[in-house]
Symmetry: C2
Subunit: 411 residues, 2 copies
């Protein structure tokens, strides 16, 4: 890998023009779109319209006039193509955690007599916490979480498992599961599956319908670039619409909320997934951000994402100063999501010193440097600059200074 080759990669980048859709700060190389996606230009424009014109001028009538009431469904429909989902199965609301609670509880009800929730021990913690909270609420006789290593999932999958909850791409090491194969395996035992797509939606083609997935959740603020704490989404496969019920009943999930009836009657289809009044401003930001994906071939996202990672790896190997970084992500590109993670005893301080050198990546406890590749914005030339800057940070040793060693509240 040399500069000539990198120039060629950028010249042949079919997604290069998409970068112009984002308002990126000057002089920053942003390798953290898997933590917080950057700001699309479309967002502040749309937020201003929704705030000043819709809220400010049209006030309460905007629920009808500007379709606020259907916004969770409309944003869901925009996300659906990224998931390989036909219409009417995706809705945007609340957080991943809350949506997982709904899906886990709903799955238990769909599989009466089965009590176990199966997951992977290094799943994203909130996925574990939600399941633990449900177990604590329902009691062990109705709900038991079992967390095992990834290679033990098949072995412990017995007929009392109601649902398996997995992250498609692991947030720490970026390892990616074979969603189709694991879904088949789970269905063979009569169980259901919930996929957490936080680290895969928006960077690769997905085929939830074709893979026969039951349920999924995903994040609005990572690769979908919907802004800090953007609402999450949920996918409920159409074949479950008739029998699925989730327990967080609220007026927005009612069949006729504005009749203000005293008894809950669930709305049809994915609409019953709503609970309270949706956050219109946050939803509107995500709505506008999703325009960055319009008329995009999803295969191009995946190709570029993997090429960026391979480029990073090749360039790293050329830097003796970086020999101490241990790749913890799968070596085989096809088994990774859109990130690379390296273990290093000084990962925290190095991550901060690298940021001061203009390269934003992420630290994940206890010792991981996590590098995310947003194919819509990152250039190959930036990968070269980033690796050179990392080597320089390691060589000059500034990361050893106290200011970089001290832990911030959010790491």
């Amino acid at each position: 890998m040399d500069t000539q080759k990198i120039i060629k990669l950028d010249a042949n980048d079919k997604l290069a023009a998409r970068r112009g859709l984002f308002n990126l700060p000057e002089g920053i190389i942003y390798l953290n779109g898997n933590s917080l996606g950057p700001l699309p230009f479309s967002v502040p424009q749309h937020l201003e319209t929704v705030t000043n014109r819709e809220w400010g001028e049209d006030l309460i009538s905007s629920w009808n006039r500007h379709g606020w009431i259907d916004l969770p469904q409309r944003v869901g429909e925009k996300i659906a193509p990224l998931l390989g989902a036909e219409g009417g199965q995706v809705i945007c609301c609340d957080s991943i955690s809350l949506n997982l609670f709904k899906l886990l509880a709903g799955s238990l009800q769909l599989r009466p007599g089965r009590t176990r929730l199966l997951t992977q021990s290094d799943n994203f913690p909130t996925d574990l916490y939600v399941a633990q909270g449900l177990q604590q609420l329902l009691g062990d006789s109705r709900c038991q979480l079992e967390s095992v290593e990834a290679d033990q999932l098949a072995a412990v999958l017995s007929d009392d498992v109601a649902v398996m909850l997995l992250s498609h791409v692991n947030f720490r090491d970026g390892a990616m599961h074979d969603m189709a194969a694991l879904t088949r395996m789970v269905h063979q035992r009569g169980a259901l599956v919930i996929w957490d797509l936080a680290h895969s939606a928006g960077v690769m083609p997905l085929q939830l319908d074709a893979w026969n997935v039951d349920f999924a959740v995903g994040c609005g603020y990572k690769f979908l670039n919907g802004g800090p704490g953007a609402p999450a989404f949920a996918y409920v496969n159409r074949r479950h619409h008739e029998k699925f019920t989730q327990p967080l009943w609220g007026w927005m999930g009612h069949k006729a909320p504005f009749e203000f009836g005293n008894d809950f009657i669930a709305a049809e289809g994915v609409n019953q997934f709503l609970t309270g009044t949706p956050s219109i401003l946050s939803l509107a930001a995500l709505d506008a951000a999703l325009d960055c994906f319009v008329e995009l071939e999803l295969n191009q996202l995946r190709e570029k994402s993997l090429a960026l990672g391979e480029c990073f790896l090749e360039l790293m190997e050329q830097q003796p100063a970086l020999a101490e970084f241990v790749l913890v992500s799968p070596k085989e590109a096809s088994r990774r999501g859109s990130q690379l993670s390296f273990a290093h005893p000084q990962a925290y301080a190095i991550c901060r010193a690298w940021a001061d050198a203009g390269v934003i990546a992420d630290f994940r406890s206890p010792d991981l440097l996590r590098i995310g590749f947003s194919p819509l914005i990152v250039r190959f030339a930036e990968i070269e600059q980033a690796v050179l800057a990392l080597a320089e940070v390691v060589r000059n040793g500034t990361f050893r200074e106290a200011r970089y060693q001290q832990r911030l509240k959010v790491t």
Copy 2:
């Protein structure tokens, strides 16, 4: 009541200057702040800063640099004085519905052996739905919702009631409970109380600490003017902090979220109330909106709110055309919140025709015209114009036209 008197009321209005904080559309009289508060000028300015500078330029570092991570608590602290709550007991997150689920489930755990949830049959529907959903999830042996008329609450309050859930001000008729007295009554039976403050926070002084209230929830988008679907708030009295647990466990309610540990350990105090990642943009809008309440004597809000309602009633009585409207709100001002509701068989169509005449109020199924008085924005002169416009709408009969009779999706 005559125009001279109304001019005097406006001249003596100590809150008159606050109206200048809001971006109100020209030619509109807005009597619907109890449905969606109007837009404060501070909001779009602050949203632009948070979007363009914090998200756009400072990206992920904003969680530390701009204190996004503490925003639910900081907004809670801004709301606390409106509730009569000392620090560390109010947090802003999710929706009323979701926060009620947390509090109802948490209350059952605080009162082991007690299974009943007591509420009022005409409570706001989502409050009923949340309780019904919890009952359906836990089963009747652990949770039973009992809904009775307001005047039956004392009679059915037995020793197996774990918690009573009431709205302080009824969304339909505006009737207000005596929160202090009912809280005492509930405590005498060893039960807990949850107050829904959706229609009282921001229009009257409240004394949650002094009244010894256990828990409360409230709305960010009505009288707090935080924008459509703004996050809700929750109050957890300090004396419950040690033993209270809510079941919607998520990483933001963890004691150390960024250690990414596998087991949920609840954060201390009200912080454990969080579940998923907070919606920063929606929270930021509410944060800015709350500045409209800075250095305000809350008694002035209540005085003006009641004076606006009395003025409306007096002027209505002077209009023979309005004789068919039946007041369903309490006649005695001190027993009302900040609204008046009138039954009329044509309430829906009249409400829409009134809107076309420039006065925005609300219809509530089946036959209520609901008129809200936001003391920060409404002028007495507007009350006079509104009543005259209503009389004209009734007299000229335009409301009988088909376009006004047809129901919109959101009513």
